[in-house]
Amino acid sequence: MAEVLLSEEEKYYLVLGVAQDIRVDGRSRLDYRSGDVEVNTVTNSHGSVRIRLAETDVIVAAKVDLGVPKTVTPNQGTINFLVDCSPTASPDFEGRGGDQLAETICRILSSTYAKSSSINLKSLCIVPKEFCYIVDVDILVLQCGGNLLDVIAMGVKACLGTCEIPRASGTRYDLGKPVPVFSRDEFQFDYLDVSKAPVIVTLPRVGRYFVVDATLEEESCSKGKLAIGVAPDGNITSVDKLGKACYQVRSIAASVQMAAKVGVDVNKVLSDRIDKLKKSKLHSTKVWQAKQDDEMEVS
């Protein structure tokens, strides 16, 4: 992760503040910074989102391709992830510097979305054994202001939730082989159901306490962190201890409980935002259609 250099006094001030539940920017240990999600930032993809949380800025874009289901899961589609830590985010990411971080984040996302029933992959299947959707999710880190994994996970959930999957209106048979038929109307699409998709709550350990949504400075004061994936129903979808610190069993158990509570709230706020974004998208496309009709009448 991008590192900042802090003097010993600054670190001491930060750690003592966290112990008293007052962080450097005035938040309590369990407060998130403010941010927002925008859609349709990348026009040539099926779904795209730009998510910002204070200084952390990430673009997530999803492209949907037609493919063949894997032989071992014939009635499921697939979701692939690729994370690119751009050098604009931090000089550490230049060349191959960001690769390790990107791989770790990628792996966590892949195993979360493949193995924890977050998205019903069967909904991505068009014809079992023959055709399925392959969703390629590309994540570009523009600016790293701390808490990168959480922001990426929220962005992925928002992107997949607002991604327009073309609607296959049926199959026709071409020389005996089934071929999917897509509707000609480009405004006919489906959304993926992300109501069970998790977010990740990263808890770095600053001094003796865990904090939520750490800034770069707080991360540089912590030797290790726990990345905990939390589903909207409070279940835990992944836990990874990252960093060089060691934890007692009860420490991990307590932080998992804390992350579960925080994660449920974050999921709720994010789901509400995704619903609002979907409604605004639908509204803007209807307005565009109506406008077109008017113009045709005039001419």
């Binding site: 690729l82 390790q100 060691c246 069993v249 158990a253």
Partner: protein
């Protein structure tokens, strides 16, 4: 970009995009047997759900190496060689504490980068790096057979090799794995058991299911490696951690016995080269 334009043949083959093309994950297309045989309540290999597979450890398996170890956990076989501490190569920056590099070779596959990073960070937590500034410690792991629990076996092997090499460490790490299928815990799962639990099926998986791997420092009672994937309730996860702690203590008993033998007759335990 991730969307490689593969032919339909290739798309069905590789599991992870980061793996090299051409390496297939050999999965059986035949129906998978249930984890627990309902007739006698035993697993497919005859164990009870809480039984761990037999463990074999040996140190000093490579004469030329500073420290080496060989660990077998059931059918999983891991060889570990420790080399160093030696001077940092010129291309690396100055470091006031030691630097550890971990290289994992998995025969017949490739361990994911994230798992290698987890092992590396575990070793960084275990070795007293302050004792050798400007030095590099290399840990080479070769997983000769992955019969399940390969990360756990790697941790045990690396820990033992460090003991054999005399590098100062805080404690001897041990590792173990647990499989949860929604109803029960299965300790030290074998590869066929791990493959038979399909975590991708969202309809079957509402009750949960997951794989938990834990690296433990027994004397300090601290966790040095922890990873979980799947879907579990927080309380279930807490009791899984308790089960894993117990297993780790059992594994440590084996390793501790060997370490004591090693300390007693250091020259005798190392295999002699026949002249």
């Amino acid at each position: 970009m991730s969307g490689d334009k593969d032919s339909p043949m290739d798309v069905g083959q590789s599991d992870d995009f980061e793996r090299l093309k051409g390496q297939t994950k050999s999965e059986s297309l035949f129906p998978k047997p249930p984890l627990l045989n309902p007739k006698n309540n035993k697993r497919q290999d005859g164990r009870g759900p809480k039984d761990v597979r037999p463990i074999y450890v040996q140190t000093g398996v490579r004469d030329g190496a500073k420290g080496s170890s060989y660990v077998e956990m059931g059918t999983t076989k891991v060889l570990c060689i420790v080399s160093g501490p030696k001077d940092l190569p010129k291309k690396m920056d100055f470091s006031s504490t030691g630097i550890i590099s971990v290289d994992v070779q998995l025969v017949g596959g490739k361990m994911s980068e994230k798992d290698v990073i987890l092992i590396k960070e575990c070793m960084e937590a275990v070795v007293i790096l302050e004792k050798f500034p400007k030095c590099l410690l290399e840990i080479f792991l070769t997983i000769m057979e992955d019969g399940g629990s390969s990360i756990a076996a790697s941790i045990c092997a690396a820990g033992l090799a460090l003991v054999d090499s005399g590098v100062p460490i805080y404690d001897t790490p041990v590792g173990s794995t647990l499989l949860y299928d929604g109803k029960e815990f299965y300790l030290d799962p074998s590869k066929s058991e791990l493959d038979s639990v399909d975590l991708t099926d969202s309809e079957k998986n509402d009750t949960g299911g997951g794989i938990v791997t834990m690296g433990y420092l027994p004397t300090r009672e601290q966790i040095c490696l922890f990873t979980m994937e799947g879907k579990m309730d927080a309380e279930v996860l807490a009791s899984a951690m308790d089960s894993l702690t117990n297993v780790n203590l059992k594994v440590f008993a084996v390793i501790r016995h060997h370490s004591m033998e090693l300390m007693k007759g250091f020259k005798e335990t190392k295999p002699k080269v026949n002249k």
